[in-house]
Symmetry: C2
Subunit: 136 residues, 2 copies
Amino acid sequence: MKIGELSRATGTNIETIRYYERIGLLPEPHRTAANYRSYGDAHRARLAFVRHSRELGFTIEEIRSLLDLSDHPERECDEADRIATRHLEQVEEKIAQLTLLRDELTRIVGRCRGGVAADCRVIEALSDHSHCESAH
Amino acid sequence: MKIGELSRATGTNIETIRYYERIGLLPEPHRTAANYRSYGDAHRARLAFVRHSRELGFTIEEIRSLLDLSDHPERECDEADRIATRHLEQVEEKIAQLTLLRDELTRIVGRCRGGVAADCRVIEALSDHSHCESAH
DNA sequence: ATGCACCCTGTAGCAACTACAGGGTCAAGC
DNA sequence: GCTTGACCCTGTAGTTGCTACAGGGTGCAT
């Protein structure tokens, strides 16, 4: 299949596919006589793996390691588990941070009563960190 | 005060302070005879406002609008409230997304039983989106 | 033959910094 | 008076993960 078909089949932007190839995440496909890229099922599966991993928030470098492992099925899989576990921890920490943030923002937004900027509680809150309840 | 002092006083990287000046978020300070930047209290307050806003996740462009409002205290403050409210909504959406992600990752990580990559549940889960419980 | 959809390469842009390279300034200590 | 070290300057390039051109070639239908 050509790059446009692969793009539609995986929901990936054409430029992104070429970008993945450029950084070595996807192997270079065969070319037609007209120099068009020509992909097979293995390419599509690999791209699906990459997209799915990205959707789950893994970085390109993490995906590189995961793909490497997937290319060497005889290796121990503890590295994959380590990457996923660390990523899960990061996601949990991010959620915790954003939750604090949300509470702070809720307090700030809730205080606005309209009027002019001189009396604005939003701007006042941003000016003075000491009004905050949690560290950020 | 010199840039190093301002940096310590606000917990901002020196390069970041110069960056904010370059993009017009902070005004150009006076210079000493040796061409060193020289800041006063107004600068420090403005930088504190910017840092605090960044910590709360506002973008540079949002901060530009908020500063603009803060510079014109006679204006209506509904713009500030609109920016903060929209930002709060974005944070809430991000939390919701990350929560789905966390649940998916928890399922993936929890399934790993060790062994070789060929049998790895982490890699299997990444290969096959259909194992997922939620959209992402 | 001409229009259109598709493909190619290469480069530059985005956000919000961060990290140099290569130089100047200033006060303290010998 | 000379060195050492901490600080400051400008300008440019790197980071992440794409995305968006510009400027050109290909393939098929009308």
